[in-house]
């Protein structure tokens, strides 16, 4: 479970980078631009959340290592 968490951040950052490149290329029409900006916004929010919001599950798993 923890590994998946890690990968999703990485995936999000990669997707964000791709979106950024597409947006910078300036070859999108307004609709596409809006959609991509919206998606980028979601990803940014997600990544920031990863860095600053506690995920209870992770700490719980680590705490339970003592019992093994």
């Amino acid at each position: 479970m923890a590994k998946k968490e890690e990968n999703s951040y990485g995936k999000a950052m990669n997707e964000l980078q791709t979106l950024m490149n597409e947006i910078e290329s300036n070859q999108l029409d307004i609709d596409q631009l809006m959609n991509k900006v919206k998606r980028a916004s979601e990803l940014i929010k997600f990544c920031k959340k990863q860095l600053t919001k506690t995920n209870e599950d992770i700490q719980k798993v680590l705490d339970e290592l003592d019992k093994e």
Partner: protein
């Protein structure tokens, strides 16, 4: 029978005398320490040995001691310089004086020490370990591991009582950026002889759960007698070098790095510095996200503004064109209006004139026609008057009436008819004969 025999004491005393006389008071020697111990008076007793080149067998040995007043100066000086506890198994460069005691035999008294020799020796040993690790192909393995992002889940190897550990955790969990971290302590002894084994055990345990962590942190507080020699272990360094998670080390080295520092993915001077490093990794990510966000915002704003401006331009241009067209049409209409007015005016004027002319001409014609008719009438009247019976009667003509009827023909009369003959001045009745 011999008479010239000495007592043992005398012999020993002789030897002592010779030694004291013949040899200079101090020598600088290199030796290896062994069996180092300190008694309650503060004096340090040890054995000095020298091994052969294979380092297996001892070829020289001597007892030695350091007086407590010397030792109280020497020990901190040595340990601070070498970052190493004064203990057995060290190669040292010392200034000694020889003493030979009748009872205690040969021993050396240590007066001074040059720690740089030990440092040099340490450095040499370290270099050898590093070389070996390089030859094994593992030296750079941990350094080459990419640091997982986000860097949040940490396996900490430290002593729970060490101040370094508490400071580290506090710093991480109260960082100003509010980054979250998850940590688990794997306790170990961080100094003394058990360090190597203890840390290796901790690493083994962490290895079982390596998927739950992003990195391993090995930390301990510094201090005057930091004694880092345990971290110059080949075994420990090799394990760390090959560990599948990046290892961050903050064991309080001052000058030289230990082999562990060299092999670790990242090495810092103190646990605090390690915490700072970890927080900065997260900060980099945070900044990267923000930069990306700003960039995207900038570009899309630019784009929207550009499109908005374009639309506005089109709107304005259209509006302007419209206005112009309307103006043109207005001018046209006004021109038409004027033209029509003028034309109407002219036409009307002309018609009016024509009517006036016609009326006048009609009047004239009427008048002359009237005049002519009058003249005609006059002449007709004159003619009629001339032709009037009165005039004729006046002229001497008469007309005849019979039975009140006018007689125009002779034949109409027969003899005996009574006629009336009308003269201008009266009638005469007659009978025809």
């Amino acid at each position: 029978m011999r008479t010239n025999n000495l007592s043992l004491f005398e012999l020993n005393n002789l030897v002592r005398g010779v030694l004291e006389l013949e040899l200079s008071s101090m020598y600088w020697i290199v030796a290896e320490t062994s069996d180092v111990r300190k008694n309650q008076n503060g004096h340090c007793y040890l054995e000095l040995i020298q091994r052969d080149s294979s380092a297996r067998s001892i070829i020289a040995k001597a007892r030695a001691m350091i007086w407590s007043n010397t030792f109280s100066l020497l020990k901190p000086y040595f340990e601070e310089t070498t970052q190493q506890r004064f203990s057995s198994g060290l190669k040292i460069l010392i200034q000694v004086s020889i003493s030979f005691h009748e009872l205690y035999g040969y021993s050396l008294t240590i007066h001074d020490i040059d720690p740089s020799y030990t440092l040099g020796d340490q450095a040499k040993k370290r270099a050898e370990i590093v070389k070996q690790l390089d030859e094994d192909g593992v030296l750079l393995l941990n350094k080459e591991l990419p640091i997982p992002q986000p860097l949040q889940r940490l396996a900490i190897i430290s002593s729970p009582t060490a101040a370094g550990y508490e400071d580290f955790c506090h710093q991480l969990h109260s960082n100003v950026f509010h980054f979250v971290f998850y940590d688990k302590l794997f306790p170990a002894t961080m100094q003394g002889e058990q360090t190597e084994n203890s840390v290796l055990n901790a690493l083994d345990k962490i290895y079982q759960f390596k998927d739950l962590f992003d990195a391993v942190v090995i930390i301990r507080g510094g201090g005057a007698t930091s004694e880092l020699s345990s971290f110059d272990s080949y075994l420990l360094a090799s394990s760390c070098a090959q560990f599948p998670l990046p290892i961050f080390v903050g064991i309080g080295h001052d000058r030289d790095q230990t082999v562990l520092d060299i092999v670790a993915n990242t090495s810092a001077k103190t646990p605090t510095a390690v915490a700072e490093f970890i927080i900065n990794e997260n900060l980099s990510q945070w900044n990267l996200i923000n930069t990306t966000a700003s960039r995207i915002k900038e570009i899309s704003e630019k784009r929207f503004n550009h499109d908005f401006l374009t639309l506005k331009k089109i709107q304005m241009a259209t509006s302007l064109m419209l206005k112009q067209k309307m103006q043109e049409q207005l001018i046209n209409l006004q021109w038409y209006k004027k033209t029509i007015e003028k034309t109407c005016f002219f036409t009307l004027s002309r018609e009016e004139d024509q009517v006036a002319n016609a009326v006048e001409s009609l009047a004239n014609h009427a008048q002359s026609a009237f005049k002519q008719a009058n003249l005609l009438l006059d002449s007709m009247q004159k003619n009629i008057e001339l032709q009037s019976p009165e005039n004729l009667l006046k002229k001497g003509y008469t007309y005849i009436l019979k039975d009140q009827k006018l007689i125009k023909n002779k034949r109409d009369l027969k003899i005996g008819d009574e006629i009336e003959t009308v003269f201008h001045d009266g009638t005469i009745n007659s009978v025809i004969k």
